[in-house]
């Protein structure tokens, strides 16, 4: 079964049409998407740097991870909301865009990884922490989130 009819329906939706017909809506929504990028990037990088042994390394990982968790979740919510709006306005273009599917794949992997494996490793108390595993988890997280950002940026470059 092809997903194309669903994408066509998305693009024809009232929200999609409204954003497409406005001269500035896309630009404004995308700006908020970018602000969210800075926030989520900071929150991810902050904990991953610590897992790698950089950044605030005198602080326990778990307490740092817990402190930035609301900012991570909050900025992810902003990203997803604005991202869905951007998608609705050009769903059919996205359907035929390889970077879009790469982004969705890495987004799914990054989100699942962040809220399962990475969360468990970051929340472990320092006594049971294993440095090698922490570094590996941080690297996987950075690669996955970088994939989301890079392929996301590339959606705009590909016709």
């Amino acid at each position: 079964m092809s997903l194309l009819p669903f994408f066509v329906w998305c693009e024809a939706s009232p929200a999609g049409s409204a954003i497409r017909s406005s001269p500035w809506a896309f630009a404004v929504i995308e700006s908020v998407h970018l602000l969210g990028l800075a926030a989520i990037g900071g929150a991810v990088l902050f904990v991953d740097l610590r897992l790698l042994g950089f950044g605030l390394r005198r602080q326990p990982v778990a307490s740092l991870a817990r402190d930035v968790q609301p900012w991570l979740v909050g900025s992810l919510a902003v990203m997803v909301t604005t991202g869905v709006a951007l998608f609705l306005s050009e769903a059919v273009k996205c359907y035929y865009s390889t970077p879009f599917w790469m982004k969705m794949t890495s987004l799914l992997l990054a989100t699942v990884f962040t809220f399962t494996v990475r969360r468990r490793v970051a929340m472990a108390d320092d006594a049971s922490a294993r440095p090698l595993r922490q570094k590996l988890v941080a690297l996987v997280s950075l690669v996955l989130w970088f994939g989301v950002g890079a392929s996301g940026r590339w959606i705009g470059f590909s016709g």
């Binding site: 970018l34 990028l37 990088l45 950002g149």
Partner: protein, 185 residues
């Protein structure tokens, strides 16, 4: 030589034309510029939020600042380098773009804000290092930093749109703000 002339001269250089017309180099530089936001603005925002008492309240401000600073510096240098390259690729249009001009002014303001924070407020950090919420002067610096960088990000994104470009009729205010009188393609 005026700035407008300098931009015209720059636009005629081989490197500028090559970067402008490149298939991959320009988008790559642009992607690095955008993604480095995470490293520079993202980490700076964590420090700002710490000043406001909105995160890491049990960690000393000086520890957050000193441990994150090297990463912010690296991020800032990458932002400046890639940003300069993006300008180099499209100098004349950028120079006569209202959003580009707004962005440069806000960058200057963000620089002044950071300097005031470091020279005045942060010098006495030992007095309030462990306060969950920093004193008012530091909080003002943090809020200003968050607002200025948000405006810089948004105006930076808007440079891509040609709504107010000089090559079409514009309102008097835009003609003035973008310096359209001195605009030559």
């Amino acid at each position: 030589m005026s700035l407008a002339h300098l931009c015209e001269w720059l636009a005629a250089t081989r490197g500028s034309i090559a970067l402008h017309e490149s298939l991959y180099a320009y988008p790559l530089v642009e992607s690095v510029h955008v993604l480095t936001l995470c490293m520079f603005v993202g980490l700076a925002a964590i420090l700002d939020l710490r000043l406001l008492g909105l995160t890491l309240r049990r960690v000393a401000v000086s520890e957050v600042a000193t441990r994150l600073l090297p990463w912010m510096v690296v991020g800032f240098l990458v932002m400046m380098t890639t940003g300069a390259l993006l300008f180099y690729a499209i100098p004349v249009r950028s120079f006569h773009n209202v959003f580009f001009r707004l962005k440069m002014i806000m960058l200057l303001a963000a620089g002044v804000n950071a300097w005031v924070f470091h020279a005045r407020v942060y010098r006495r950090v030992f007095e309030w290092d462990r306060d969950p919420i920093a004193p008012k002067a530091a909080r003002v610096g943090g809020v200003l930093s968050l607002i200025l960088w948000a405006v810089i990000i948004v105006s930076g994104r808007m440079i891509a749109y040609n709504w107010f470009d000089c090559d079409k009729p514009q309102a008097a205010f835009v003609v003035w703000a973008a310096g359209c009188d001195g605009y030559r393609r």
